[in-house]
């Protein structure tokens, strides 16, 4: 439990740039572009130090740091997935085709272009180094982002989601090959690159506005709808353990699943005053807790072995308190941290 997650600062630029360059496939939401990362770090810092009472263009960048101060992972929350633009997805819908004459009724599945998710909060851009603790860092960053949302719910939308990479096989993206290629006649990687270089919204805007009939898609494309890539299955399970469920929406380009959760149904945690002690109270059963101080201006969370004593205080050791910069009696958000391990620890 030697990792801490904190809001990123401009000093993290080199480390984040390195991780962005290492990410394979490249992350649409984490461009390996110094200038753009620099601007984003500044925006993230500004957002945290400003009073904000509704979600907007903000992006919150977090990093996971080891005891020795090494930054080994990063992740982002976009307060609104669309920001100033639209976040397009395909929504799975059903049409009813019924004929009195033939006395039949059929449900016909379609995919409709949608920008509903523009107004939801997006958890994205998880990248790591190849450090031994990368898997733990991923796990922690998932929980830490939710802790930030629980700490400051007014900064986020009622719906939260993550978009996981879609199914690929032998270097091909069957959903793209069966759908997007018809419209764009480009390879997935090429369009993916174009999408990560700037706006993705133009892609949805130039596509035909009519829904796709699933019965007309080839089997490979149809089976890829809402299916995560093999090396993202663990991430799907990890998010499900955090209370996320599969959404009706899938990624416009690769058909990958979106998982969503309701901001107001996250495990609430408790706000408790901190108490710093050398030893745990005898009558308390110490547990593994994610502890987040309330302090504005930055964000900092880590997993601590702590206990709740009979006075309703959160008792932690001095070392943990120091790392969190928590002082006695300062209120902290305490969320039990599941033991469910994430052995694969795939990025989301």
């Amino acid at each position: 439990m030697s990792l801490i997650v904190r809001s990123a600062t401009p000093a993290d630029l080199d480390a984040i740039m390195a991780m962005a360059m290492m990410a394979r496939p490249a992350l649409t939401n984490l461009p390996a572009d110094r200038e753009r990362l620099k601007a984003r770090l500044a925006l993230s810092q500004a957002a945290l130090s400003t009073g904000i009472d509704r979600p907007g263009d903000e992006q919150y960048m977090l990093v996971a740091e080891t005891d020795s101060g090494e930054v080994i992972a990063t992740a982002t929350i976009k307060a609104l997935a669309g920001g100033r633009e639209a976040y397009y997805t395909y929504r799975q819908e059903t049409l009813i085709h019924a004929s009195q004459q033939l006395d039949v009724r059929r449900e016909v599945n379609i995919l409709s272009i949608s920008h509903e998710m523009s107004h939801a909060t997006l958890l994205c851009a998880l990248a790591t180094t190849d450090h031994d603790q990368a898997a733990s860092a991923r796990h922690l960053l998932r929980a830490a982002r939710l802790a930030l949302i629980v700490r400051s719910p007014e900064r986020f939308a009622p719906t939260l989601f993550v978009a996981l990479s879609g199914y690929r096989e032998a270097g091909r993206t069957p959903f793209w090959d069966g759908v997007g290629r018809h419209f764009f006649s480009r390879d997935f990687d090429e369009i993916h690159r174009a999408a990560s270089l700037g706006s993705r919204s133009f892609i949805g805007e130039v596509m035909p506005p009519f829904p796709l009939y699933l019965p007309l898609l080839d089997d490979q494309a149809r089976e890829a709808i809402g299916r995560a890539g093999d090396n993202h299955l663990e991430a799907v399970r990890a998010w499900q353990r955090e209370g996320f469920r599969l959404s009706r929406h899938v990624d416009l380009l690769d058909g990958g699943p979106l998982l969503e959760a309701s901001r107001d149904h996250l495990p609430h945690g408790q706000w408790l005053p901190a108490q710093i002690a050398e030893t745990m109270p005898e009558n308390a059963c110490p547990g593994t807790m994610l502890i987040t101080p309330q302090r504005l201006g930055d964000f900092r969370t880590c997993v601590v072995t702590a206990a709740i004593n009979e006075h309703g205080q959160c008792v932690m050791d001095a070392n943990s308190a120091r790392r969190l910069s928590v002082e006695a009696d300062e209120p902290v958000l305490v969320i039990p941290f599941g033991q469910t391990s994430d052995s694969e620890g795939r990025p989301c």
């Binding site: 016909v108 174009a194 009939y213």
Partner: protein, 353 residues
């Protein structure tokens, strides 16, 4: 051989044709009640008197038979074939096509500019005339019968009827052509599209359509546009293509100026060809002449002139005559005059073919 309007007494022969054509010929199902209704509708249509501009919202069916006047009068074998004109399709039941349209698809950001071929379910031909139901019985087909040009007579007599009774028809005419089928008699277009949405066989879908019961199409077939690139190549290769056996009929219609304008059958993808009626070559090039009955005329070996009466629609007759007009006069043998039921001095409409 002569073309005349169908009559009530033709019902047995018509049903024999329906049996002979089999289920592939959807407009003549083997149903006596259906055929009786069809004849009644046709009789009513022929007997209607109609001025220009009248009846433009009424369906009418002009159903003709080809009669072999060499056979004994009471022979069941006098009926050699049939053909028809629907004056205005889609008035009683929806008349569906897929229209092939182009959707622009462009993005300056991607430096992409292309168009996508797209199928739209539409009823654009509502109100057009249709030539249909052409069938020539086996006995009157084949190499030995070729010099009689029975197929041409059946097909083109209709243009003379339309030329003579122009006020009964709208601006445009169409013909639906049977689509391409594979060696197993299956339609790849149907397999890729119709079958995915309809819980019935091609034959049943085609049959219901022939009976005019088309409601299920609007209810069950996709009503949002479909990009053709989503269809497999075998199905795309059917779009606007005809059945091998339909090629001669298509060629004949093409020569008359009917063209494929991007409308296809929703089941087999076969083309609809169409034209403005006034542009149809047989109609534009037809001319009228006064009858002179002469006894000492020779008959040409290959019938080259088609003649049709210009009196009442219900008395319409058409057939081959052995020669063309000279200075507004068409000379007929007494047999030809009898066949067309015309007398000296009456007017015929003529077409060189």
């Amino acid at each position: 051989m002569l073309i005349r309007p169908i009559e009530e007494g033709d019902i047995d022969a018509l049903q024999a044709i329906a049996v002979e054509t089999g289920p592939g010929f959807t407009s003549l199902p083997d149903s006596r009640d259906f055929l009786i209704d069809k004849i009644a509708h046709a009789r009513e249509s022929f007997q209607r008197t109609q001025e220009a501009g009248e009846g433009i919202n009424e369906a009418a069916l002009y159903f003709f038979v080809l009669e072999d006047d060499r056979q004994p009068l009471d022979s069941a074998d006098r009926l050699a074939g049939c053909c028809a004109i629907e004056a205005r399709v889609g008035l009683d039941a929806p008349f569906y096509h897929y229209r092939i349209g182009q959707l622009a698809h462009s993005s300056s950001h991607l430096e992409l500019h292309r168009t996508l071929d797209t199928l739209f379910l539409c009823s654009d031909h509502t109100g057009s005339a249709e030539v249909c139901s052409l069938y020539l019985r086996k006995r009157w087909r084949g190499e030995a019968q070729r010099p009689m040009r029975n197929g041409t007579l059946l097909s083109r007599a209709r243009w003379l009827f339309m030329a003579g009774f122009r006020e009964r028809f709208p601006g445009r005419v169409l013909a639906e052509m049977r689509g391409r089928f594979d060696d197993d008699g299956k339609s790849p277009f149907w397999e890729a599209l119709g079958q995915k949405f309809l819980p019935i066989e091609f034959q049943r879908a085609d049959h219901l359509t022939g009976m005019g019961e088309k409601g299920f199409i609007g209810e069950m077939m996709p009503r949002h546009p479909i990009c053709t690139s989503f269809l497999p190549p075998s199905a795309r290769a059917c779009i606007g293509q005809v059945h091998t056996q339909t090629r001669p009929a298509l060629a004949m219609l093409n020569r008359d100026g009917l063209r494929f304008e991007g409308y296809i059958d929703i089941f087999d993808g076969g083309p609809t060809v169409e034209a403005y009626i006034d542009d149809v070559r047989s109609i534009r090039d037809s001319l009228t002449a006064r009858v002179s009955i002469e006894t000492a005329l020779s008959t040409e070996e290959r019938p080259g002139w088609l003649a049709a009466t210009t009196g009442a629609a219900a008395d319409f007759r058409a057939g081959w005559v052995g020669r063309g007009p000279q200075e507004g006069v068409i000379a007929l043998t007494p047999e030809e005059a009898k066949r067309l039921n015309v007398e000296e001095g009456e007017t015929l409409r003529l077409l060189a073919t």
